[in-house]
């Protein structure tokens, strides 16, 4: 494709002189349209074709199955609750219309702040938010008011990321910071059984519909079957219900090598082991639940695939990743079963382990340092 006219145009409008302060914004748009013509200076004279944009766009693509399914499921749940008989496309369009405003708000607010910070600091605009901005609307209840979402995004980008120096410097997963912000600021909008199903008409009465975990926390056996949970045709946060759609994304992330298989596998291992441990105790309904139910319910699978694997906030050493993942899975199940005040343990578990990740790495690296000291002493 010969896009010379466009590259010429970009070169012509490059901000200079009194406009030079707009450099970051210009760089962001220019590199969006064209991979720069910068060449290597020394060292490795050729470079791998992958860059940050490509890596992040793979994450976005991996989210698409879950996103599309989530859109359909929003409509489907409303349809079920209202007892109407909508077709596939009706459900999908209904969900699309509920999701789009949330996605737009998330991106507009987040990118505005990202650009502003980059501009002030004369940094490049980092691509990381392209994934974060899509993740946030995917993990909140569909009934979340847009103004709350906007606040949460702003909080996540500023407090979760930019105060530490931007992408790569943050220690908490920004998308989960946004969800935690909503969870603790507006608990009535984030849990209970009145938030999971979108209304037929904008803004009228809430529809009741409990999530499996809500039911379990209330001491009941979940009404949804394991197959429903696997497919995702249950109430829940917008796009986190379908384990199959999430698995499609996981395959892409693992094949391309963007996400760590060690983290993903160990989260499930940790959750499974904890589930089995509770089975052995078997004190109440929740403890007797087959361990694999934990993988199917709530945000466990979504968190394991898309949240725990965020490379910036996860452990960075390979050994550390195993420990980090195992503990995330274990704590998530522990919180679910033992603390009915927080039906969803995954978010808190990942955020907690985000805080612990540097400590884990420190210990792993310290072992390597010890090994070197022992070798020297010999």
């Amino acid at each position: 494709m010969n896009m010379k006219w466009l590259s010429d145009w970009f070169e012509k409008i490059e901000p200079k002189g009194k406009w030079a302060w707009l450099g970051s914004t210009y760089e962001a748009f220019h590199t969006f349209a064209f991979t720069p013509k910068t060449v290597t200076r020394s060292g490795a004279h050729i470079r791998d074709a992958v860059d940050m944009k490509r890596s992040i766009i793979i994450v976005v693509i991996a989210l698409i199955p879950a996103l599309l399914f989530g859109m359909w499921n929003i409509g489907y749940q409303t349809n079920l609750a209202a007892g109407t008989d909508w077709g596939f496309w009706h459900c999908f369009w209904f969900g699309l219309l509920r999701m789009l405003p949330m996605i737009v708000v998330s991106y507009v607010v987040g990118l505005f702040i990202e650009f502003a910070f980059a501009q002030v600091r004369h940094h490049e605009v980092n691509e990381g938010f392209l994934a974060t901005g899509l993740l946030i609307p995917m993990i909140v209840p569909v009934t979340t008011p847009l103004w709350q979402l906007a606040l949460a995004v702003a909080f996540a980008v500023i407090i979760g990321k930019e105060v530490f120096g931007g992408s790569g410097m943050n220690f908490l997963n920004p998308a989960l910071v946004a969800r935690a912000f909503l969870f603790f600021s507006y608990p009535t909008h984030m849990s209970g059984d009145k938030v999971w199903i979108a209304n037929d008409l904008w803004g009228s009465d809430a529809i009741a519909g409990a999530t499996p975990m809500g039911e379990l926390a209330a001491g009941m056996h979940p009404t949804a079957s394991a197959l429903d949970m696997l497919l995702g045709t249950i109430p829940g946060s917008t796009c986190e219900t379908s384990v199959i759609a999430i698995a499609l994304g996981a395959i892409l992330l693992l094949f391309t090598g963007i996400a760590s298989w060690r983290i993903m596998l160990s989260v499930f291992l940790g959750g499974g082991l904890m589930g089995l441990l509770f089975n052995a105790i078997g004190y109440n309904e929740y403890m007797q639940l087959p361990f694999y139910y934990h993988f199917l319910m709530g945000g466990f699978a979504f968190g394991a695939v898309f949240m725990a694997t965020d490379p910036v906030t996860a452990a960075q050493t390979n050994t550390g990743k195993w420990i980090y993942g195992l503990l995330i899975g274990a704590f998530a199940v522990l919180l679910r079963v033992c603390n009915p005040a927080y039906p969803e343990g995954m978010m808190l578990s990942i955020l907690f382990m985000n805080c612990m990740a540097p400590l884990i790495d420190h210990c792993v690296v310290a072992r390597n340092i010890k090994m070197r000291e022992r070798r020297l002493a010999k």
Binding site: M3, N126, R372
Partner: protein, 446 residues
Amino acid sequence: MNTETIKIKKGLDIPLGGCAERYVVDARSIDRYAVKPTDVVGFVPRLLVAEGDSVSAGQPLLADKNDPRLTLPSPVDGVVEAIVRGEKRRLLEVVVKSGKRKVESEAAQAAPDTLSSSHLPLSTSAPVWWMLRERPFGTIANPDHQPKGIYVSLRDTNPLAPDLQYALRGREHDFEAGVAALQALAPVRLVRAEGPHPAGNIGTIVAALDPINKGECIWHVGAQDVATIGRWATTGEYRPERLVAVGGPAAKAPHYYRLTVGACLKRITDAQLMDSNYPHLGSAPAATRIISGSVLSGTRVEADGFLGMYDQQLTLVEEGDQYDFMGWLMPGLQKFSFSKTFLSGFARLLPTTHYPLPTQFNTNMHGSVRPFLFTGQFERVFPFDIYPLQLIKACIVGDVELQEKLGIYEVEPEDFALCEFIDPSKTDIQPIIREALEVLRKEAIA
């Protein structure tokens, strides 16, 4: 001779096109040579000759100001043609124009029947001493140090590197004599590495066999230079010759050349550079980058420049100074990535051939510089018991103590070349490592 074998799993062989074919063109008749002190780490040059002086092969042209025992000799008999200085009068090259070359008869080239027991002793006064290099820091071997061993890698795994078995054919006697001469200094370890690059790097070999601790050092010599040392030790004649693999995607007819170290490359580049027009770029003339050494850690030279002091290959790659429209979004069937984030990664899975698609390599960065975001990638191409990202960060912040703890003495910039290649954040890692090592080296001699 005892050859050791190591097997390495982590690494990557970049499918760069233009591998040198196995025929040799003798280019020892090239008449201009340069000694480049900038190729030698830590060498502060003091001139021993002036322009117009007659010199003979092996006669020192430069001495190190820090240790005058260390010298760089003239590779040929001839006359000092030019002394080239760069910014701040930094000495870049001493150019020697070779005089009439004595035509050796085949008999003289053949090795002596029996290895004489009275080898010339290898010391700093030998013209071949500069071929011995020391780790850590990559300087010329310091005669005051006692190395743990002298390592010779028998397989160069760099992209398009010469096949050393092939390069040493006919020089076996010299090679053995060289090993014997080195043996007198320290135990010599000849190592043949198996596995993907960087298996054949000295750093990888030493890390696998006997890692360097703080305060220790090892020496290493290029396999072809061992033969040069052997010839000098048995006959007293200094003839620093190497079989050099000339290749790369932009080379017209990749093959081997027999060259004397420091040879002017003009004759080779004249023959090898493609015409200025590349069909896929329309009429835009594409420049070619000429790299003395490997594409991963070699030095850029001009078309009429000189072969690097320690290099045994010349790589020609197209410059990539073009925009790539939506390059980050396109399928990228012809793009090579270790990460499999492009369609080419799927294509590699096809059973038919190993790598069926024409892959384009050029010097484009393929992206802009970003902070480190992804982790766990470097470990896959870094066969050391070292945490690469942590060490790189320690070097960036200049934390010397942490660098030592994390194993800085075990590495050289070239060991990070593949990390630099695959890095999605496009950080120039090798200069970071070199800078950190230089700080440590200067502290050590201070």
